[in-house]
Amino acid sequence: MPPGDGMLTIIHDPEDDPQITRDALAAHNPEHRQITVHPTAGTESAIVLGADVLAALGCSITQHTTRRQHLGTALHAFAAAAAWLLVDGIEVVIVPRAHLLSPPARHWLSRLATTAHLRVVAVWHGPAPQHWAEAFRHPQHLVRETEDLNGVLAGARPRPPVAHSVGEPMPEALPTLAELPHSGMARFRAEAYRTLDATQFAALDAHYRYGLHAACQWLGGHELYHTLVRTLAPAATQRRPDEPVCLARALGRGRPVPLRWSDTAGLQAFLSGLAVTSPVPAALIARVRGAQAGMLLHGVLLQVPLDLASAHGPGLTGIRVTEQITQRIRRALPNPRFAAAVAVAALTGARPSDVALNAVAPLPRHSSDLVTELGGWSASKAVYRVPLAAEPLLRAAAIFCALTRDPSPGSLFAALHPDEVNAAAAATGLSLGRPWSAGEPSHAWHAASAAWLVGEPLHRTGPGTNDPLPVAVS
């Protein structure tokens, strides 16, 4: 029988054998997609059972969090528990002492099994009721009774390993820089080479190269880019590969350029994607300069804000949302919506209170690009690439909204008060949202960026092509 199937498995232990309870508690292993919920003694309500599930998932449950994060009803506790269980891929929830649960709490468990597509293993240490299905109000055909707890738990399978981007510089490889070059793309690398010592330059250059290669790869795989290039004069695009070229020739008169890069959302997603794994602002700036260089090699001019270092947005005023940061947020904020709001503030670099004031759409099913009013120009939206580690928070928030039948499904955080999000951010201890001064543009750096095709490509990607940046620095 496959796990995660909405089944209710009853382990009947009329003698209340302590070994069975110990085996059930020992089976707690979220990495193998199964958790054990040890219900709080002395309470039998579904609300506390929901809090027990959240606690088993690693959330910190306090009187303060349950009150401030609106988890004081059975529906909200249920929605939060189901949302986290779904995004965590939990397949088995073991509940010892099930005989002590109230009928509503047992029904709560039954709904959890069917809603979160998991198997609930209820260990019943007492006389059996007449009908298990009635006791839990669970569909008869999904109820199974056994005494073999270990047999039931034998099918646990490990979670797949977390995917990591290939070829990205290690975050710790960037030592503290004496001074980051202020120049634009054309002189950035040369100035860095002159002003930084060899170790610092090598570290910074790793990020520069990362940005350059990322831009080459992104453009090479983008349909719009190939369409635009085809509009250029045939003579320019059909040159022999060994024919020498230069930028001046490529930008010469008579070309049908510049052509504006119309996929603004795609460009924003690509640029914010550079920030996803960037450890510090200096690394992001190097990546952006590298991306500018890489795009220009393909005839695309990328324009970013002039003073990039003092701009705001992902990678500059935001923080890198790693697995550790995600765990920290989740631990402090059991309500998925609050957790996602703080994660959005972290990855966008926006102030936490602004997250509640701007529309943030749920993450599309097969995409990690978040569409929001945050950081966009007036009446326009900005797109943010969401780090892999933050995706579960956003998906859990969407599930939570759906299960609680939130009145504003178009925006994840519309129901939250800005002060509540501020308080939630403070509870995580993360330093979020650098305040920006009056007169400073409110849009994020990547939303203020634009690109044009300005000439024919100098660098062609594909098998056998050379590294566009052949100068090795040691």
Binding site: P14, E15, R22, A26, T40, A41, G42, Q63, R97, G126
Partner: protein
């Protein structure tokens, strides 16, 4: 009184040996058979980190024996809680919070509270003594079980209770299947009374065994609490008349004070003497 304030009164460590003695701070702990058995049993329970139940009628020395034994076996690891009326799990949480001397204010949410207590009980081994266990309801026993079953806590739990305790605990399957051993405290036989009472208090040290036997038959009934009360009255009687020696008349006077209705009838019949 708030639950927190009550809890402060209900939990304490084994730091006050004299407070064990009912009415008699200057009495001696005597090694009765029950006390020796209790000590051996508690040694086994501590080694097994198990649960045990010490039960018997009031006054048979259960609490004193457990305290005395634990003072020798685990003086710095024992937390004792006692409730005189039906407690709730919340009361146990608060009592343990203070018994374990945890810093700060007690948490408001039971899950947070339990996490804190479990973390404290996982730091090192503890013996938790729950006196007057017969007052506990099912949810309280379930709470003790909850703490004991946790994979990380390192505790032994000693339930001490009156005559009903055995029946109450036996009918709870979650405890009946977890109690490592049961010990019943019974009244002392006369032979044992004659051995231990002279050691118990100086006033009996040189007393005639026949007088002790009379005292036990009339007042003590092999019950240590009654013997403590008897001794206290004897000391008061002798203090009022310093020329008087401990004799049967003193004991009759004590009986008249301690036996209530029966003694009143006897006084009318025999014109009971004053000491």
């Amino acid at each position: 009184m708030t639950p927190d304030a009550l809890a402060r009164e209900r939990a304490w460590l084994l730091d006050d040996e004299q407070s064990d003695h009912y009415l008699l701070p200057d009495a001696q702990i005597v090694a009765t058979t029950a006390l020796r058995t209790c000590k051996g049993n508690l040694q086994d329970v501590i080694e097994a980190e198990a649960m045990t139940c010490m039960y018997g009628d009031a006054g048979f020395g259960k609490s004193l024996a457990v305290n005395a034994a634990l003072r020798e076996l685990a003086a710095h690891h024992t937390v004792r809680v006692v409730f005189r009326s039906r407690p709730y799990p919340r009361d146990i949480r608060h009592a343990l919070f203070h018994g374990l001397a945890l810093p700060g204010q007690p948490p408001g949410h039971p899950i947070e509270f339990d996490r804190l207590l479990k973390a404290a009980l996982a730091e090192r081994f503890r013996v938790l003594v729950c006196d007057e266990a017969q007052w506990m309801a099912r949810d309280c026993f379930e709470y003790w079980r909850h703490l004991w079953d946790d994979r990380h806590t390192r505790i032994a739990i000693v339930f001490v209770g009156g005559g009903d305790c055995y029946r109450v605990l036996r009918r709870e399957p979650m405890l009946a299947s977890r109690i490592y051993l049961w010990q019943q405290f019974r009244k002392m036989e006369l032979e044992e009374v004659l051995c231990v009472v002279p050691v118990f208090h100086a006033v009996w040290a040189k007393a005639d065994p026949a007088l002790i036997a009379y005292a036990d038959q009339r007042i003590g009934h092999g019950n240590f609490r009654k013997w403590a009360r008897l001794t206290r009255h004897v000391l008061q009687g002798l203090a009022r008349d310093r020329d008087r020696e401990l004799d049967e008349k003193v004991l009759q006077w004590v009986a008249s004070r301690t036996e209530g209705g029966d003694a009143t009838r006897r006084r009318h019949a025999h014109d009971h003497p004053r000491p």
